[in-house]
Subunit: 422 residues, 2 copies
């Protein structure tokens, strides 16, 4: 494969220009005062994360929250057919905004509404709106392949939501910020593309994660780089791209993960020269094969052309049965066949585990299965809680310390709340 | 639109040749004796209906029961991407064959199996087989958009089925026959195309139904013909295509419907010169927007180029809630956007109801809603049971008599079984 420097204009498979829905600075006051006269829709924290996602073009060519024709295509086909040229775009998750009966009543037959953040500031205008029924059961069944109680995103964002969806074109008054000390890590797709250009990347491989990086992850990221060099690329850049939106309560929170990721780079497990760490602002659905398409599609929009996919991406345990919710192989199979993702290079990898003989993380070798130790999130947590160290070589010491501190603080909190409730 | 006589070769949008999986007569004995040595898979009545469907090319280019890659594409994308040319084919229902643990064990690592009918005769060979997990919950959720108990096809064909699916290439030893006096109505896609050619059809419009034909149906079929003539077609032919496979217990059975349809033609409500009545061998899923795609796709394979779609196609009431399972408009919306069906002409129609002023079935006019009477299947059934006549003009007298007799026989049966169980 010939090496060439990626240019933003080359990355978009069909030459489509990324949508950018943030109002230019000189028009903000005008739009803000226009919004004052509109019916208001109050956003939840997760809704605001979606506004962020849409506004920067992660879901491009989507120009706002889905109208019904987009919603139905997403739900039934995991893809949208573009009206202008008939091309197919992957869109596996319904990106929708729910409103309740009362809000719908207030909106009446208005053509646009103002979107108001959780702290009541006006965030955006939604224009040419369309309101349609929010059939939660159908949405859940077709997105997750189950309606079992206990799906984290469902319980957090769908069950309590209204019975209507409102779609329309989004105009965001100013870039979404969280003021949590991590905003500088939240590069937009445009900023990431500029950074890849600046670094003269000729291949960008993205790694989605929502967990601390252990040496098994590092092994496959470094191995991927080697494979790309072998293919003839001169400067493959890794986009280490932790998910920054909603995650379930027992996942490690973003700030702790970011600190852990920093240590991994500081300790030299990953090479800072060829790695960009940035935050992906999407909330997490835990919808397995359906969601992995979204994870890949959004990274293509940000300029990645290689996507690493492992065992059971975006998966979790079944909420009510003792099994994985999804077949661990379905994620990569579905991703490899997904409409609109034909041009993405998918890099499946063998699972890594702790090799008790070599005393390091290594690709699992079924021929000597008994030598390998799988260290699950739960096991890692138990190690950290009990103060026990994981096997040498499982994670760099700096990264591990971050987790030990985090779990210790959790235990302290739990102890405190036990005292309070006693 | 210019008029031209349809030729079979013109109908297939991409020139694909319909699959025909029935073994030539001179090879049957050979194949049958070959099958004797193979592990056996016992088919249910519904499995056999699917063998029938696949063997004649209704699901072409599908060459057998789905392997996992086809199953996953069907489930997630409602379509298949063809490996040879990358073209997209609509395939909204998983067409799969389930086996239990014991059968899987017996098959072991064989490469082919014999399929044995409910009456133990060898029906077919399945070659280059692949066995994979049957995750029933996921299949049901993604196909129906609900996992509520009481879905007819699920209770009949999925819940009692095995935990494995077996895919492969089908070779059917001889055409599937039911010996119920209706086999001559079961024209294959090839036979239908020949019949359209013979009649010099320049447009074929298909009407799927699983209910008796009332004058509202007839109104729209006749109105469709008129619209096609207005468009410049000289000889539009109606394919009146009742579904002949599994239907739920409270639907009118096939033999009664076929008798009723005959009367409708005899009474001149539909013109026999421009109508072909034939049986569609597929079982019914009652899966609304997902299934209507299958209903349309199969008719394209049989040579139809116009498809009539009404309110809530393939829908039913929610099994546990007091509402329609599907939004009544979603069927036609989803159909109009479905991948692989871009070239199908979809004819949506306004709902017909009994106009109490004109005393006939007419297209519903919302401006004088109070003049219209909707006669549901349940209401029709009550009329027939109580011996009450429906409003004059609702259905031709010959057709109505068939239903009255059917419901009377049902009541007699119920009375008899009540006596027995008393």
């Amino acid at each position: 494969m010939a090496s060439h420097v990626i240019k933003s204009s080359l990355i978009e498979p069909d030459g489509r220009v990324l949508v950018d829905l943030i109002v230019p600075e000189n028009q903000r006051d005008l739009k803000a005062s226009e919004a004052e006269g509109m019916a208001k829709v109050r956003l939840t924290k997760i809704d605001l994360e979606w506004v962020h996602v849409i506004s920067e073009g992660w879901a491009s060519p989507l120009k706002g929250f889905m109208r019904e024709d987009e919603y139905l295509q997403s739900l039934h086909f995991n893809s949208l057919r573009m009206k202008n040229d008939g091309s197919i775009v992957n869109m596996s998750l319904p990106i929708v905004l729910a409103i309740d009966d009362e809000t719908k009543e207030k909106i009446g037959d208005a053509n646009e509404v103002a979107l108001v953040g959780p702290d009541l500031n006006t965030v955006a205008i939604l224009r040419s709106i369309e309101m349609y029924k929010h059939n939660k059961e159908e949405r859940i069944a077709r997105t997750w392949g189950t309606t079992a109680p206990g799906l984290p995103y469902v319980e957090e964002a769908i069950t309590p939501a209204g019975n209507w969806l409102i779609g329309g074109d989004l105009e965001v008054l100013s870039p979404i910020k969280y003021n949590d000390g991590l905003d500088n890590y939240r590069l937009s797709p445009k900023q990431l593309r500029e950074e890849f250009d600046r670094r003269q990347a000729d291949a960008v491989f993205a790694f989605q994660l929502r967990n601390p990086v252990h040496n098994g992850h590092a092994l496959l990221m470094n191995d991927t780089r080697k494979r790309l060099l072998d293919l003839g690329y001169k400067n493959p850049i890794l986009l280490l791209h932790p998910l920054g939106g909603y995650t379930k309560a027992d996942d490690v929170p973003l700030d702790v993960r970011m600190e852990q990721h920093s240590k991994v780079l500081e300790d030299g497990v990953l090479d800072p020269e060829t790695t960009i760490v940035s935050i992906f602002p999407s909330p997490m659905h835990y919808a397995g094969p359906t969601e992995v398409q979204w994870h890949a599609k959004a990274r293509i929009n940000a300029g990645a052309n290689f996507y690493i996919v492992g065992r059971d991406p975006a998966g979790m345990g079944h909420p009510t049965e003792k099994r994985d919710l999804y077949d661990p192989d379905h994620g990569k199979k579905v991703l490899s066949m997904a409409p609109g993702l034909e041009k993405l290079n998918i890099l499946p990898f063998r699972v890594a585990a702790y090799d008790t003989v070599a005393k390091e993380m290594a690709f699992f070798d079924p021929a000597r299965a008994k030598d390998f130790l799988f260290i699950s999130g739960t096991k890692m947590r138990t190690f950290a809680r009990t103060g026990e160290s994981p096997p040498n070589g499982f994670m760099c010491p700096g990264g591990w310390d971050v987790l030990v501190k985090y779990y210790a603080s959790l235990q302290a909190e739990e102890a405190a709340s036990a005292v309070v409730s006693a």
